[in-house]
Assembly symmetry: C5
């Protein structure tokens, strides 16, 4: 089951700006990839030692530094100092329990997003925090582990597909955000299929496991919702951002991502509404079934109780029971019983129970 | 059952502006119809080859180009390039999974709407995406297939009915939007009738199929809602639009469409509220019925159990049971049983069960 | 049952401004009443032929033209042309499926209201659309049939009661709106009484008919709500209206009507909340009753099943059953049965079932 | 039970400004109390004849005129004319069915409040309308009957406690509003206790009377809500009022009352949420109990039905039933029955029913 | 169980500014701690006698006076007079039934917060009101008892950790607010665990105690909500505060606390949503179980009633029952019974009951 809270409380009492890695360690080594590119050139490097390798980016090229892995606090700290990031910002990078948000610091924008992906082989939705920092001519991206959601973007840079190589760092930021938002639809489709399956089960064959399934799904949707909802504000913030950071041309692209986000939220809310109706349907189905079971019971009881009673009467041991001596007594009683059954069946038919 | 999600995820990872047709191919050939008209003349042409035929529209006439069918991506692309449409806009045209929206690009307005119609012979609501582009003296309309919802507008142009031939391209845009919104009422009336029928069934004769019917209807309403709700914003956007695009005279007409949209939303919400109450009523009806069934069971059991017990007592084989030898034993027992039945019936009458 | 939708769809496809009468024809003849009055004089006329009789109103008197009946489209059209009303406005007058609204056309205000009244002899709420047009020194009012809700206003004009004869056309508009809003309270009181009666029935004696009653009432409230809610906006619009149309003095009066509207909405929402809780109470009552019935069943079964079993044991035909030969066998069994009954009754008493 | 609507409809059709007393007559005589005070002097008078006694207040002292009783319309009318109150305002004073509101007339503020108090000896909440008018150097207060909620204020004036004698008429208005709002907490505490008691009853011992209690309480809260909610707007209106009416110093005090109002609303909403959850809990409790009852029934039936069947088999009268002749037949059957009982009990234990 | 209302009503009727301690007395003695610090020095003192010891703070150092215990009204009053606090503010300090709020008095800011902590050894959440006053170079903090939530802040001041010694009084205010907000996560995690445990119990093993647990938890969450929700407004108020009180540098820190508050609210709402779904799940589980129980009953009854009937028939004492004389009678009846059982079992299998 999705865990809704991380062990956030271990930070209580620490002075602000203290780096504490909240979240699980998802990768062993920290992978740093650096891209330098402009319209004509593109250089890609894997960097291991942090500080020396990260020279200041130049104004003529766009630099993208991707850090995969957050548990080496001194490395994060060093990068923070090199790019003169605010201590609170650096603190937020390693605290993976953030809500998606946009912070506008003097000279750079800080975007926190949640990447969602269905875990391979499992049924669960996994979440990973992605921090993006847009500075002049540079984008820093921090992932919990170096998952491959950014691979298509890397590919476009490498091969100069689309207009990414012509555009600036703001367009790179857009491309990264877009890659993450596009991924939400994969997750939503997975969830949508689960909803379909459950809905069928709830109406056709309600079982305790179905109930548990509804419950788990409801929780997953709640979880996804917390990751996607705040995004709307984040992206509309980017659209309103100071134009020295994000150019007018790129804002058109952010407005496209905004549409996608709204669409994702829309789909999510539809799914939520469908799931929230399921419990009601489940309850109705169970009631319907109980009703059907009780009808069977009542029919059986109503038919056999009078019959058993009649048989009981003629099983009494009174000495003076004239019927017992009649030759036709037994067949008459049998016929009488048949009449009782027939009357009962007619009664049930009239009540539309059978 | 209405399908809530299209296979939107296949776009994940592609650079923005890449044309991918999302949605089913609803027509084989792509039909292009071109209208040129002013107050005195009206020219109508079917165009097959795309690029050559679409000469630039002149300022003295209004040009309306209707494209029916979205799957020929190169054709759409060519039209996009000819009218200098933004790549993201062209991408949205062929992605039929859009929300209704209004985008204001430099020099033209882009409106996405959803056309709804009950599928002939079936009970389902079908949806089709319509993209409308308003440029200077020109309106482009893109339909998934060339359905006949715009036929009345064509007619009015051909025969100069109303003020359409006197007015500009903005009035043509209005006429197209109005035609679509007017069509919503047809759909809403169909749904309204379904609601009436179901509501009757839920109260009078609740069955599992009724439950499923409620469920399907709820989903359809959810579906229609997603198509109609965002329209309000779209149309109020058109009312606020730059007056060089939409003239003041035409804005009065858009305010009329706005009223209609509000009315459609109002009706929709009323229907939704009625359907959402149905599950509760269903549950209440089932409970009521279960109660009635259990009453029957209890009455039967309460009458026959004591009787059977009495019969059982006198069926015991004790040697010394004086009553068995009494001449009046049998009739006395029968009378005693009758008294028990009478007492029980009085008890039930007092409880108002019978 | 209240019908929620009119046959609105028959307008689909017609050019805007086409007059189509939507709604039922509620009166045979169209009655036109004209008032001319100032502080000292008052002239009242019944007019039959339309155009000639409606001379242009003069600036020194207030003219009120009331048209009762909307189905004579050419008459409405003629009036529209005479007073230079916008074609869309005239179209709205005859379309009785409007939402209450305020439209501000150049030179006149257009107000659509819904008049509600409980139909005599029936239990239903009826609705009638009233269109009011305020021009300089003139008020036009259009009713579906000439119902008598405006009679008190006519009376005040005729006899110069209150300040109506001193004031201008805007005050007349206020008086008409006020008359309609005051009438809502009559309807709300009728509904309030129904709510009281049903609430009692739901708690004391829940039956399937009660459920249906709740359902019908819920629908009526939904219906009334659609008529009253938009009024708030309409009247606050009138308060903000251009002061050349509505004078400051009259705005104080509109603010009074606004208070009444809020109060009506308040009452309506309270009624709705009460009705929406009724289904829950109904369900609880049914459950409670089912519980009571099942208790009876269980008590009966729990007492008589062991007894019948004991009797059954001594009804077995084994040759070697020593108890059967005992002299005290029969009384001992009877005592044993009494003990079983006593134990069971104690058990039920402890469980507080009896 | 609290009555939700007063007979408001009897006003329909009357011209605005007509005085009609809506509400019950709560006191026989009308008591008028007049205070004149400044920092050094304080004069208190009971006034019986209206007009002569109410001389115009002077600018150097604060005058407070309290009128207890609203049914003498000519008296109210006379006061209205003397202080030049707007006819609509005077109409509102005697119509006790007002919503709390603040009206800003030229030269004076008109505040309508609802005073709540639990009726002595009864369980019900009573409501009384209080109208307060703030003019220059004067406060008029109208109560339905001269209840003692203002007594502490009078006391403070008489003995010069607090800063009331130093401050102006606006501070007196504040003191009166504060006295009323403070009283709400008494009512809310009474309601809070009822909620506690009911909540206990619903979980521990749900009975039909509990259901009715929940229902009555829900209604009372709805009723209190209508009195308190609009107050928020009223008081924030007073805080924004023209500073010639309410001084900056006094606004700080109004902001304190505002806090109290929010707190009262907060408490009220909490109570409402608790009550609205009770029906669900009630339903759950009933279901739980039904479940327990049915378990008892099933256990009894499942144990005794097989036993009775076995006894029945050996009660058959076949001539050739070898077991009947066995010496050990009877004890063997008894042992067999005991085994059946043991198996059943094990089965129920495994199912955790016992 | 958490008590939702304090005895607030005892204040009714008192003049504003009267000090009444509302809440329980949580500590015996009142502990006053004073810090004076700047970048280089730090002085910490325990103060017992109030007035003399609290000399006016100087502009070059930051002074923090912490008062633990609110029941000595004369002490609070003396401090209020010394720092020239508004009487209403002082009144609010000792009234522990406040909502969190921010009041901006001339020259100082007044912040009311709620501190939450799980009571040691008990399961309950305790709440304590904390009043913070920010003046020039001084922070006053009032706690109900001197609980140790501020200990980490004291520690940072003592040892000069972080930037607290370099910064001004506004940063100290931030540190105190942050300490309180950080503590919320501890409480939320405790509650989160309770939710998990209950959710499990509700699905797996619904019992009346579970229902009560859900109920208590719901109430606790309601309680926590009232403490946390208003905080959002308070902190965004601090962010907007006059920059002479709160410097721009510190506002960045407040925006960090704001994020934490939103996160806490988010988590709280998620928990509330989960709990509010539990009652539905509980009801569904109970229904499911009742259904299962009734199935067992029906199966048993349906199998044994016909058998007992057959046995009853052959237990009748008619003289002429040919079957009784048949040699194969008894075995044939036994076989017939077996057939009945088999048919019934097949029927149940087909219905998927077993």
């Amino acid at each position: 089951m999705v865990n809704l809270m991380k062990n956030r409380s271990k930070k209580a009492g620490l002075p602000p700006g203290t780096l504490v890695h909240i979240g699980e360690k998802k990768t062993e080594t920290v992978a740093i990839t650096v891209f330098h590119y402009d319209e004509t050139h593109c250089e890609e490097r894997e960097v291991s030692a942090a500080e020396g390798a990260l020279h200041i980016p130049s104004a003529s090229t766009v630099t993208w530094i991707n850090i995969g892995g957050l548990h080496k606090l001194d490395l994060i700290d060093a990068i923070g100092r090199q790019f003169q990031l605010h201590p609170l910002l650096v603190e937020d990078i390693v605290n993976t329990d953030q809500r998606p948000k946009l912070d506008d610091y003097q000279g750079y924008l800080y975007v926190v997003l949640k990447m969602l992906y269905p875990e391979r082989g499992h049924e669960e939705i996994k979440v990973e925090q992605v921090s993006l920092i847009l500075g002049p001519h540079v984008v820093l991206s921090f992932q919990e582990n170096g998952s491959d959601v950014f691979e298509p973007v890397r590919d476009r840079i490498r091969h100069g597909k689309g207009r990414i190589r012509q555009a600036g760092a703001d367009y790179l930021l857009y491309s990264l955000v877009d890659a993450i938002v596009d991924h939400y639809f994969v997750v939503l489709e997975t969830l949508g299929e689960k909803v379909e399956v459950l809905q069928d089960a709830v109406i056709r064959n309600p079982k305790p496991e179905t109930l548990q399934g509804v419950h788990v799904l409801k929780r997953e949707l709640l979880f996804v919702r917390r990751s996607i909802w705040p995004l709307r504000e984040v992206i509309s913030g980017l659209q309103r951002a100071d134009s020295s950071m994000v150019s007018e041309t790129t804002k058109v692209y952010f407005s496209d991502v905004y549409d996608h986000t709204i669409q994702a939220i829309d789909t999510l809310e539809t799914l939520r509404e469908m799931v929230s109706g399921m419990l009601e349907i489940y309850l109705s189905s169970i009631s319907q079934r109980t009703n059907a079971v009780i009808k069977v019971l009542t029919i059986i009881a109503t038919i056999f109780m009078p019959l058993t009673f009649i048989a009981g009467v003629y099983g009494m041991n009174f000495e003076y029971m004239p019927e017992l001596r009649w030759r036709a007594g037994y067949p008459m009683v049998l016929v009488g019983m048949a009449v009782v059954v027939a009357v009962m069946l007619l009664f049930f038919r009239k009540k539309k129970w059978i």
